[in-house]
């Protein structure tokens, strides 16, 4: 509203100086003023009209310039927001990939001993925590629906509650035991990836 008031003030003074003042002088009922201006002098009339047109064009240029500036600002801000959103989604996507890489190691038993298994399980928990933090901090930016958030969370819900992946001792693990779990897990992580990729513009 402040900028509109400013424009109105500029417009008023322009009109006062370039358009109304000559008109007031012409139609003033003062003999001295009438004598100074020769109404039959077409040059004077043309110059008044020309100055009025120039003033109007100038004002129009100012208004158009202002609206161009405003539109350009909104367009640039919109692009900045889009880029910010894309970068943050990229973080979630990359963290999902890191999380997946760790779980794949458990599935193929690329582990030497109980100690290494404990460290991997700790990593699994930490890496998904980062995804949750990113989702919480950027909730308004991403504008995920509740269903989309639950699709992403479903991956960790499955993994965290799965005894074979997160609780059983190293000695009781086998690739065979992981086979059916793996398919279920892959389905969930693919859906989570899909949600992230869908939001990237």
């Amino acid at each position: 509203m402040a900028h509109l008031k400013f424009l109105k003030t500029i417009l008023f003074y322009f009109l006062l100086i370039f358009i109304f003042s000559p008109q007031i002088l012409i139609f003033a009922d003062e003999p001295e003023i009438k004598n100074k201006l020769n109404l039959n002098d077409w040059n004077a009339i043309i110059s008044i009209i020309a100055s009025s047109i120039v003033a109007l064009v100038g004002i129009l240029g100012l208004i158009l310039g202002y609206y161009y500036y405003k539109s350009r600002l909104e367009y640039d801000q919109c692009n900045v927001e889009k880029e910010k959103k894309r970068c943050r989604l990229q973080i979630i996507f990359e963290q999902l990939e890191a999380y997946n890489a760790i779980i794949e190691r458990v599935f193929i038993l690329d582990i030497q001993n109980e100690n290494e298994l404990t460290k991997l399980r700790d990593k699994i928990e930490r890496s998904f925590e980062l995804i949750e933090i990113c989702l919480e901090l950027n909730d308004k930016l991403f504008n995920f629906t509740n269903e989309e958030i639950k699709t992403i969370l479903a991956v960790n819900s499955f993994v965290d509650k799965n005894a074979l992946i997160m609780r059983e001792n190293f000695d009781s693990l086998s690739r065979q035991a992981f086979q059916s779990i793996r398919l279920n897990y892959i389905d969930k992580i693919q859906k989570a990836r899909g949600v992230c990729l869908n939001k990237m513009e």
């Binding site: 399980r121 928990e125 949750e132 969370l153 819900s157 965290d160 509650k161 005894a163």
Partner: protein, 111 residues
């Protein structure tokens, strides 16, 4: 109605289901027995009054196993919406609320 600030009165990181998961500390079973034991009977679920209000403002992390043990356990007494009616959750982020809702929808499960 009792009001509990979970982060201050229990713990800020809620990850373990029971004493066998990770370090076993501050687990879901312990929380349930300490604060929600009043809901361990059908009589407590007959009316629609709020039994307890859980404040999550000081909770930094909540895992699905803990949420399943604390909330989904009660789906044997009522529907997910009934559970959330009896156990009111406040000052919680959309992500953490989604974790709870997801566990309620999935049902009580230890595997």
């Amino acid at each position: 109605m009792e009001k509990i600030d979970i982060g201050k009165e229990f713990y800020s990181r809620l990850t373990n289901r029971d004493d066998k998961q990770r370090d076993g500390k501050y687990n879901g079973i312990e929380f349930r027995n300490k604060f929600l034991s009043g809901l361990y009977n059908d009589k407590a679920w007959k009316d629609d009054s709020v039994f307890i209000e859980l404040d999550f403002s000081n909770v930094s992390k909540m895992g699905p196993s803990w949420a399943n043990e604390v909330f989904a356990y009660f789906t044997k007494y009522g529907t997910p919406s009934k559970v959330l009616q009896k156990i009111k959750i406040v000052n919680i982020s959309r992500v953490k609320r989604s974790i709870i809702e997801q566990e309620l929808e999935a049902g009580y499960s230890k595997t």
